[in-house]
């Protein structure tokens, strides 16, 4: 384990019944790093995410976040992370502001309205939609609301589940810019995705997952994005 690692998988293995969903995973994610776990359907991405969030338990090895074992100290882990589910389904009958207020209260975080408005501006959610019911929001707008919530929680670690799925290209660009900004500010970002192009644009490191095993790793060199073609070739090759 790296000394400055925020997220660490150490021989992480998860089994359900007689099926091995994650098989001896090993990786570390450092502070301020954007880490993308890339894999096809059924590769084990969501299981990895759920294990780090303390929603599933490891059978052997460990998944730790900020030094807390997610299997044995899920509450400690959950206090320090923000989670963006794949389809951000906040409450449709509440407005964006009401949703944020509700979830902040659930998290036990006390923020002023000014803080809330500042976060909504930062994620560039149109001001005229703040008080509209979320059922009228596009997926991108809901995602921005959820990111504003994550910002307000000041969580040092963000777990993102298929964050760009269903977003239009402009919204993906906006999202990637926001993720990069958060990482530059010191947040550690762990995303699971099957969007090769998006991951290459934003991630510092991409790790390929297939049938619960790590099958490849790509790292950004300086400011140059990871080579999409190389990742795509490796990803497609593993998923033939």
């Amino acid at each position: 384990m790296q000394t400055n690692s925020v997220i660490c998988a150490d021989a992480l293995t998860v089994r359900v019944d007689d099926r091995t969903l994650l098989d001896n995973l090993n990786f570390n994610v450092g502070k301020g790093e954007v880490f993308a776990l890339l894999g096809g359907n059924g590769a084990g991405k969501s299981t990895t995410l759920k294990t780090f969030l303390g929603l599933m338990k490891a059978n052997s090895g460990s998944a730790t976040v900020l030094g807390h074992n997610a299997s044995t100290q899920p509450n400690q882990v959950q206090k320090s992370v923000a989670y963006l589910p794949e389809s951000v389904t906040l409450y449709g009958h509440l407005s964006g502001v009401e949703n944020i207020r509700y979830f902040l209260s659930v998290a036990g975080v006390d923020k002023s309205d000014d803080d809330m408005f500042a976060a909504l501006r930062k994620v560039a959610l149109q001001e005229d939609s703040w008080n509209k019911a979320l059922s009228h929001y596009s997926k991108g707008m809901r995602q921005k609301t959820a990111i504003a919530l994550a910002l307000l929680r000041n969580a040092p670690v963000l777990f993102l589940d298929e964050p760009t799925s269903g977003l239009d290209p402009a919204a993906i660009d906006e999202f990637n810019a926001l993720v990069s900004e958060l990482a530059a500010g010191g947040a550690t970002i762990f995303m699971v995705t099957h969007d090769v192009y998006g991951a290459c644009q934003v991630a510092h490191r991409i790790v390929l997952l297939s049938n619960g095993k790590l099958t490849g790793s790509f790292e950004r060199a300086g400011d140059t994005p990871i080579d999409t073609e190389a990742v795509h070739a490796a990803f497609a090759g593993r998923n033939v």
Binding site: L55, N75, Y83, P85, L94, Y102, A107
Partner: protein, 436 residues
């Protein structure tokens, strides 16, 4: 641990749903209407008792004015016996729908007079009356299911469950608070009308608290059932609709199938004489006495009333006339003949009730209904007590008239100042009410 802020937040959240407010309004209305229905019925019964008491007195005075011997007065005078509704009977009408709560009796053989009404069909009352006990024991569980069935499943289906759990300071606080802010208003919507009607009807604080505790207990049991099904690992991946159907299945089994099957099995397994048989046996004994040797009647009568053994100097054959003491003696013998059947009937009624109390352990709804009728003094025991109260009163009437028939003093209307008056027995529960 739940904080006040959790409750405040979830209260705002839960009451943001129009469906919740509508459901609570319906519960409030059902509770109020059922109580009003029971209250109106009990007012009607009380008015009937008062009207019959007046009629009783008027008729008896008329009999006394127009008759000049004790036998005739005993024959024509009616005596109202009744079980007055308790201050909480309006909430649980219970067995008052099945057992008679008033009898206008005469000095004739009694058992036939008691069981005449049993020839009606009490099965008609099987489904129960729409009273507060019905609402709380049968309908309220459905509202609990409606309010709680999708507590977690709804969040799972909307894919918010993980987000809520990961975001929450304490995920248990979310679910516990939601349950609390849903159930407390449900309890209030159910009980506020009850408390209002009870206070108006003069029920004691203790009895009101007892009924409130029973209702709250029932709500807790049903909520626990619903939450346990919702939280069962076995059903973790079931949809909210699927969970609701399982919960409705449990409701159907415990609220309908168990009580109906239990009722059928109890009736089949406990041998009970028919009320009609008691009436027939008693009437045959009375009617046949006209044709039997008078000694047969006297012999049977003297067995139970040896004090009149040397006052039986009458034989209709010999005297070619009619004598009231012989007439009432064979009425007495009629009751003695039917006594075995009558006792079996009562013992069977109590035995069935006892078995039903065990069946109720398998049915929270039946248990609630039984506890409410017990608290309201409208259960089987209360009605059996009333029957025995009638028998005691009839025995005192007989004692009064036998003295005047066998000792044969001159007729005097003044002697009727000693005529026993029926006074309904007040149960311990009602005594407490009056003490309060």
């Amino acid at each position: 641990m739940i904080r006040f802020s959790d409750i405040k937040r979830e209260a705002g959240f839960v009451f943001g749903h129009r469906q919740i407010k509508l459901t609570l309004l319906v519960v409030f209305l059902l509770s109020s209407v059922s109580l009003w229905s029971g209250y109106a019925e009990m007012q009607e019964q009380q008015a009937t008792i008062e009207r019959l008491l007046k009629k009783d007195e008027t008729e008896r005075n008329a009999v006394l004015t127009h008759q000049s011997n004790y036998g005739m007065v005993a024959y024509y005078a009616f005596h109202l016996t009744y079980a007055p509704p308790s201050p909480l009977a309006f909430a649980a009408v219970g067995e008052r729908d099945v057992f008679p709560w008033k009898h206008r009796i005469r000095m004739l053989a009694l058992e036939g007079q008691i069981y005449e009404s049993d020839t009606d069909n009490p099965e008609l009352a099987f489904l129960g009356r729409f009273d507060f006990a019905f609402v709380t024991s049968v309908l309220l569980p459905l509202f609990i299911i409606l309010l709680l069935y999708d507590l977690k499943a709804k969040e799972r289906e909307a894919r918010r469950f993980d987000l809520l759990n990961v975001t929450a300071r304490n995920s248990h606080a979310i679910w516990s608070s939601r349950v609390l802010v849903t159930l407390v208003p449900l309890v209030l919507a159910t009980l506020i009308p009850l408390i209002a009607f009870s206070v108006v009807n003069g029920a004691s604080v203790a009895s009101i608290l007892t009924v409130c505790a029973i209702v709250i207990g029932s709500i807790i049991i049903w909520s626990a059932i619903v939450l346990a099904i919702g939280a069962a690992k076995r059903f973790a991946h079931f949809s909210a609709t699927h969970l609701a159907s399982i919960m409705l299945g449990v409701w159907l089994v415990t609220t309908v199938i168990v009580p109906v099957t239990g009722h059928t099995i109890i009736n089949a397994s406990v041998d009970t004489p028919e009320g009609g048989d008691i009436v027939l046996t008693q009437r045959e004994a009375v009617n046949s006495a006209w044709d039997k040797p008078v000694e047969d009647t006297w012999q049977a009568f003297i067995e139970t009333h040896p004090q009149w053994a040397d006052k039986t100097d009458f034989d209709p054959q010999r005297d070619s006339s009619f004598n009231w003491k012989w007439y009432y003696a064979f009425q007495q013998v009629g009751d003695q003949t039917a006594k075995g059947l009558s006792e079996s009937y009562q013992a069977a009624t109590l035995r069935k009730d006892e078995i039903a109390s065990y069946v109720a352990l398998l049915s929270p709804s039946l248990l609630t209904q039984r506890l409410l009728t017990s608290a309201a003094d409208t259960d089987v025991q209360a009605m059996v007590n009333y029957e025995n109260n009638v028998r005691e009163f009839h025995a005192s009437l007989r004692k009064f008239y036998y003295h005047h028939l066998f000792e044969a003093p001159d007729f005097s209307t003044a002697s009727f100042k000693q005529l026993p008056q029926f006074s309904p027995q007040v149960s311990k529960k009602q005594e407490n009410t009056h003490e309060d």
